[in-house]
């Protein structure tokens, strides 16, 4: 059975709106106006046990709203979801004891107390037997290298240290499904890498299912073979990360290192960068081989590469769509992969 099964999940928020100015303020006393924001619309997906899935989308795409519904914080407007066989928003104890939600921008530890006291609180909350708790805690402390931090009050920790402590605290009850919302936000690259390494290890060790949102593509590239892309609350893509470029990117990047720097290559494609003898061209995906052959024949370069554009660029292109949902994407490509 899949760990996560979502069918046509929709969440609509009703938000008050008012124009600026005193007149609008007066009018709002009599008649408040609202508009509907469709944060998530008709989302359907299935995640198998042990999968690590990157959940991608620009700000406001509906990622966090989706995670909040799946972790039981929010009731959907319509649609169904089952996580570990439970309807999340019923928030049954048995369900909450098997999942965790980590929000990178929120602290759930006891601010004024040493980290170990927060861990102790989580032991009591989840009713973990003492020996198992001690073993799990020591294991997490060792894996995350936070042994020297756990006796410090949370308020005295740096952001990165606090995030590692947060993650340890969130995993003490050994959840089977992890909802991670920007777990590396605001951290330096070294700390991001440590957390990524830890999460990969945790997944391998316990077979935990992970849904991860991150604006750092390095997180996604390192952890997720599969990505789900949503935009304007709708599913744009669900499939292997490696095929994302093929699906959305109509061009390839051709890099050539010339024997004779300075040659004009604009007839081969769009010149996007020139760095000494190295020229980077952007060419239609279908023409890439032909263009490469012509370059080799005409210029005998010392080096030539054909690559997909960097994943960050692909994602940027996917999200750089006008307000109409998915309008930059051909209609057949809006379907799940």
């Amino acid at each position: 059975m899949a760990d996560v099964e979502v069918d046509e999940l929709t969440r609509v928020f009703r938000v008050p709106v008012r124009e600026a100015g005193l007149g609008a303020a007066m009018r709002s006393l009599v008649r408040r106006e609202h508009r509907e924001v469709r944060a998530v619309e008709g989302l359907s997906l299935t995640i198998e046990p042990g999968e690590v899935v990157g959940f991608l989308g620009p700000n406001g795409a509906g990622k966090t709203t989706s995670l909040k519904m799946l972790s039981g914080l929010l009731h959907p407007t319509s649609g169904t979801a089952r996580v570990l066989g439970h309807e999340p928003w019923r928030r049954e104890r048995e369900y909450l004891a098997r999942i965790t939600l980590v929000m990178g921008n929120r602290n759930q530890l006891q601010w004024d107390l040493p980290v170990v006291d927060s861990f102790e609180m989580n032991r009591a909350i989840f009713g973990i037997a003492r020996t198992d708790f001690d073993r799990t805690r020591d294991e997490l402390v060792e894996l995350l290298e936070i042994g020297h931090l756990v006796t410090k009050p949370v308020r005295n920790l740096s952001l990165g240290e606090r995030m590692k402590a947060e993650i340890a605290g969130a995993l003490l009850h050994r959840p089977q499904v992890l909802f991670l919302d920007e777990p590396t936000i605001g951290l330096d690259v070294t700390m991001q890498k440590r957390i990524r390494t830890f999460l990969a290890g945790y997944n391998a060790r316990y077979g935990a299912t992970v849904m991860l949102t991150s604006h750092y593509m390095a997180d996604v590239s390192a952890l997720c073979r599969r990505v789900i892309v949503i935009h304007h609350g709708r599913l744009l893509y669900d499939g292997p990360l490696s095929e994302l470029a093929a699906r959305f990117e109509t061009a390839k990047t051709v890099g050539v290192t010339l024997v004779d720097p300075g040659a004009d290559l604009s007839r081969y494609g769009e010149v996007v960068a020139v760095d000494g003898a190295r020229v980077t061209l952007r060419v239609p995906r279908a023409d890439a081989s032909a263009v490469a052959a012509r370059l080799l024949a005409d210029l005998q370069p010392t080096d030539l590469t054909i690559e997909d554009p960097p994943i960050d660029d692909v994602i940027e292109r996917v999200f750089a769509t006008p307000d109409e949902p998915g309008s930059a994407v051909p209609s057949d490509e809006k379907l799940p992969g």
């Binding site: 965790t100 037997a129 997944n203 073979r225």
Partner: protein
């Protein structure tokens, strides 16, 4: 993506490890209450100076009532409605303890709790937030009582109380202050949940606290209230949260009156719990968790 595609990307999980051993629910709840209460004591010790300042600030209110009523009693030939200055001293010294015992999570705190994402954290735990509030503020009482003792001694020296307590009264008082605490927690929990319908709820809270001030025995011992007011008092929960525990210790309530007071508390606990659960179920559907 279809289930087939999902299957295609599945990372085969390693052999399942045995799940963590968990204790039974009753033991878990006891452990939870003890741990959270201990955490509250630890946290509040960090703020002992602030707590003492808070406590000293709280002395002002009963001392004003005490001075005013003592003057009125003396001007009225030594007593008002059966209360002598010594009787008022006993009433307001016990008042301080009861007031500290029924400090609970304020409904004003809900806006902060929602805005800062604390509620989201609470909702993904397998324990109802109400249990957390009950446990946390119960722990805080340890600090409140410790800080109350020296203040009560000083007040007793300045305003000698007339107090004669038998075992039944003392036992009832001990139970009643916890009953008052639970009732007030439940009622203010419900009041705080109104924040999930509208964010500007201060006026409603003020209305509640004004009614509580007048009808609980906080402003004036209820014995001094006119009969018309007392009829309302009997219909409302406020006496159970304030007046009854004080009266149990300082008034000459009979055995049946003490039992009746405890039964009234039991009724309000049942009513408050039911109300809290019903309102919670509806309120939480409105929680949007936006921004956190």
């Amino acid at each position: 993506m279809s289930a087939d595609t999902a299957q295609q990307h599945r990372v085969p999980p390693p052999p399942a490890r045995p799940p963590l051993a968990r204790v039974g629910r009753p033991r878990q709840m006891l452990d939870f209450y003890a741990t959270v209460a201990r955490t509250a004591v630890q946290e509040q010790f960090q703020y002992r100076a602030a707590n003492y300042m808070y406590m000293i600030g709280m002395v002002v209110e009963p001392v004003i009532y005490l001075v005013v009523w003592s003057v009125v009693a003396e001007a009225s030939g030594g007593s008002v409605g059966g209360y002598t200055p010594g009787g008022f001293a006993a009433y307001y010294i016990v008042w301080m303890l009861v007031r500290n015992m029924n400090i609970v999570f304020t409904p004003y705190g809900w806006e902060f709790r929602i805005r800062e994402g604390q509620l989201s954290g609470m909702l993904v735990r397998p324990i109802h937030p109400l249990h957390y509030d009950l446990a946390y503020f119960a722990g805080w009482k340890v600090i409140a009582v410790l800080l109350w003792v020296p203040i009560a001694v000083v007040l007793a020296l300045l305003f000698p109380p007339e107090l004669s307590v038998n075992l039944a009264q003392a036992a009832t008082f001990f139970v009643a202050i916890w009953g008052a605490y639970v009732i007030r927690t439940l009622l203010l929990f419900v009041l705080g949940l109104v924040t999930l319908w509208t964010t500007r709820v201060a006026a409603l809270f003020e209305l509640y606290f004004a009614a509580e001030l007048l009808l609980s025995g906080r402003l004036v011992p209820l014995d001094l209230m006119p009969d018309a007011v007392l009829r309302w008092v009997d219909l409302l929960p406020f006496r159970s949260t304030f007046g009854f525990p004080i009266e149990a210790l300082v008034s000459d309530l009979s055995g049946p009156q003490l039992v009746r007071g405890l039964l009234a508390q039991l009724f309000w606990i049942g009513f408050g719990w039911l109300l809290a659960m019903v309102v919670w179920k509806r309120a939480i559907r409105r929680y949007s968790a936006v921004g956190n």
